[in-house]
Amino acid sequence: MNDNYAVDGETRVEIYRRMALLKANDERSRKVIKTGRLMMPYYSYRGQECIPAALAVNLTDRDYLCTIYRGIHDMLAKGLPLKELWAEIAGRIDGSCKGKGGPMHLTSPDKGIMVTTGIVGSSMPIANGLALAAQLSGDGRVAVATFGDGASNIGAFHEALNMASVWKLPAIFLCQNNQYGEHTTYEKATSALRIADRAIAYNMPGVRVDGNDPLAVHAVTLEAIERARNGGGPTLIEAMTFRFHGHIYGDDDAYMDPARKKAAMEADPVPIYRASLIAGGFATEESLSRIETEIEAALDEAVEYALASPMPGEEELTTDVYAEGAAA
């Protein structure tokens, strides 16, 4: 691969492994829903794999993530165990949240996956709190909030970025600009020429990056993470991307510009990066195929595990509302 990035081969392949996992998991999800084995609102992230994959190799399990309904890619990249994921989205007791949260509220604190929200924009104020905890503890952790382009128009975005900046919180605000918020285009909803420009309003570094370029995303997120860890405060990152399958599983694409969509799908980052790894001598067709086969096997196992797991019993309905034993 002809590039100037000082990223070692192992990391390059690891980024690919995560991208391949995300892609395969999305494909499997849509297949399982299509065949009726599973019912859930599903927000496909297909097309956006590169961003969390390249981000996550720069994070540890101790770093915090706040993500959103369209965030299964973010979580898998950060290490969410497949079985926990699948049992949760199937609404089973072995899921990460005993089936009570579902696909929009996956949580796995062991992996630093602290909050998944279904409310547009709400990942950001809460990420501030995680970052504040890190700052108060001095434990060197960082908090990443992911969100969409549409979310950059809501009040919570503004309040969170301002507070993070005045408090110099170790936070990374990672916007995955897929150019649509539900059915509305970026241009129709968002006044800023670039979301990254909004960083000026917070006297904060802001950078737009090609979200299809794993090494660029790797570099930009690494810089932001290091700045955060070193007390340099927050960063706003806008990663340009596209969602291939619309807002929610089952929506028709009538509202989308077909040319825009076609161009985006032709620029699918996963096969392009795959080819570049082989061309650059960082991997072979065989080594990558082996990774892909392992992923498929893990997925087979996770899906069967999930579907074999029992549904939560009725006693679960009223537990976890308050701490056990507390006045309620």
Partner: protein, 341 residues
């Protein structure tokens, strides 16, 4: 999305609740130039709403009068308030009821209060349409019934239809109304069919509907629970119990006259809603009835609501969360039996 919804709406056939709402919006837009519609994805370029409630409207009335907005609920309600004060009649959509939580200041501190705080100098004739309800596996942040908050807010009216005819007629009345109205739609029952309303039909705000007459017990419900109460009535009739079902339609101000008349007849009352039971709207109805009919009731007034939990995702739990016809029938039967002792 179906562009043709508007055209098929008003006729003598049966239509869905979704079609009735679409028709009410279309007719209101046609009848009054000051009416306009705004909300996320409501325009046809955006598919006419995420479930198609506003389909066809922007094509017919233009993007100015049916306008898709940024994801900015405070700004949506703020724009509606300002336009309403200036003489327009905005119909804002907040996609799901849980999202009103980001716009409560605009609704409660402003829309509800500006008439009063201005000593009547300004008024805010606007409607906020929103949908909610468990049953679609959307989990904890997409299905809450929060009507109790708004019913507890002076200056607002709160409406929740359960049939196409009422949906049409109440929405038209809400748009006519000189004050802000919260109009609650149930996601699960958009497809429910019923007789099509006559074009221009109005259902007055503040008037309940006796959906089924009965003599043993009054069951008071609204929104999707009115349907479930009707199903419960069928179960009860098989047990020889004659339940009178009242669909409140307007939650605030609620129709005490109709409810009182029914309870005076039956001597028993059960209030049902999908909102969680504690401190829910049912408490107001139950407390009022218990006081009004003190010494004249055959059984205590009971309430059924969702348990005091967030809405769970797992199907097994979600099913248990929503009050079922069996649970309603059971509770009613117990009251009737208790009253017979």
């Amino acid at each position: 999305m179906n562009d043709a919804i508007v055209d098929t709406a008003i006729n003598t056939h049966r239509i869905t609740i979704l079609q009735a709402i679409n028709a009410a919006l279309a007719d209101a837009l046609a009848d009054d130039e000051r009416v306009f519609v705004l909300g996320e994805d409501v325009g046809d370029a955006e598919g006419g709403g995420i479930v198609g409630v506003t389909a066809g409207l922007s094509k017919r009335f233009g993007d100015d009068r049916v306008r898709s907005t940024p994801i900015s609920e405070q700004a949506i309600i703020g724009a509606s308030i300002g336009a309403a004060i200036a003489g327009w009649k905005p119909v804002a959509e907040i996609m799901l009821m849980n999202f009103v939580t980001v716009a409560m200041d605009m609704i409660v501190n402003h829309a509800a209060k500006l008439r009063y705080m201005s000593g009547g100098k300004t008024s805010v004739p606007m409607v906020i349409r929103t949908m909610t309800g468990a049953g679609a596996s959307t989990g904890g942040q997409h299905a809450d019934y929060l009507e109790g908050w708004f019913a507890h807010t002076a200056g607002l009216k709160v409406v929740a239809p359960s049939t196409p005819e009422d949906a049409y007629g109440l929405l038209r009345s809400a748009i006519d109304d000189p004050d802000p109205v919260i109009f609650i739609e149930n996601l699960i029952s958009y497809g429910n069919k019923g007789p099509a309303p006559v074009s221009g039909h109005r259902v007055p705000l503040g008037k309940a509907r006796v959906a089924v007459e009965g003599k043993d017990i009054t069951i008071i419900a609204y929104s999707a629970m009115a349907d479930r109460a009707l199903q419960a009535a069928k179960i009860l009739s098989q047990a020889g119990i004659s339940a009178e079902i009242i669909d409140l339609r307007t939650i605030s101000p609620w129709d005490q006259e109709t409810v009182f008349a029914s309870v005076a007849k039956t001597g028993r009352a059960l209030v049902v809603h999908e909102a969680v039971k504690p401190f829910g709207p049912g408490a107001e109805v139950a407390a009022t009835l218990s006081s009004e009919f003190f010494g004249r009731l055959k059984a205590p007034v009971e309430r059924i609501g969702a348990p005091f939990t967030p809405v769970p995702f797992a199907k097994s739990l979600e099913d248990a969360f929503i009050p079922s016809p069996a649970r309603i029938a059971n509770a009613a039967q117990k009251l009737v039996e208790q009253g017979k002792l």
